[in-house]
Symmetry: C2
Subunit: 129 residues, 2 copies
């Protein structure tokens, strides 16, 4: 019997193109989730604590997010002391929600895979030669 | 009224320590999900197609996964042609499931955050000074 080729439908079945790397990075995922949960913004110090990041690390990731247009950073003074407020932008929220859709698909695939269910892509495993 | 400090309980609320970086990387997440779904193993070529990766990229990620003990790679001959079979190890499956637990928590947090629900950590947003 001729060996069947993996169906074309399965091509890229687990590629997860929508997992935006700017958002997917572990620390940035925490930062964005914090900011989505606090749409009025968070102080740099509170964000640092919520995400257990160092000053340097948080600054670096905020810079990436700001350059990508996902986060806005506002420096001001309160009680004569400088403070930095970080907020998610409208674009950031939109992209975060799109990312979340893909992440939910990953979790569904992964749960199905771990339970040994046939995944919807219909791809085969290793058949005897 | 004295300004209240963010409760200690909220420290690290969005740190997601359990998001194992070896597994979380986008391409490797696809590779591992494919392999969990095919516990008997997948041929290199099929894995490449499922994850839409180049030969070089897939090789590089498989090496990281093999060095971490998550994936086993077996080179052999079939019909006088070399073939490479990739399988998830028992340790790999265990770590993948642990990762999945954290990922599900992220999705729950993110959904709650996006809907504007108060998240269970009880952290505050920006309060008027």
């Amino acid at each position: 019997m001729a060996k069947t080729k993996a169906p074309e439908a399965s091509s890229g079945r687990f590629a997860y193109d929508g997992l935006d790397r700017v958002i997917h990075e572990k620390a940035r995922l925490g930062v964005l989730t914090s900011l989505v949960a606090h749409p009025k913004g968070l102080l740099f110090g509170d964000l640092k604590q919520l995400c257990k990041l160092t000053d340097g690390n948080l600054s670096r990731h905020l810079q990436v997010l700001e350059e990508a247009g996902l986060v806005g950073i506002e420096k001001s003074f309160a009680h004569n002391r400088p403070q930095t407020v970080c907020r998610i932008t409208a674009e950031g929220r939109k992209r975060y929600l799109r990312y979340l859709d893909v992440l939910e698909q990953v979790v569904r695939d992964a749960s199905a895979a771990a339970k040994g269910e046939v995944s919807p892509g219909g791809q085969r495993g290793l058949a005897p030669a």
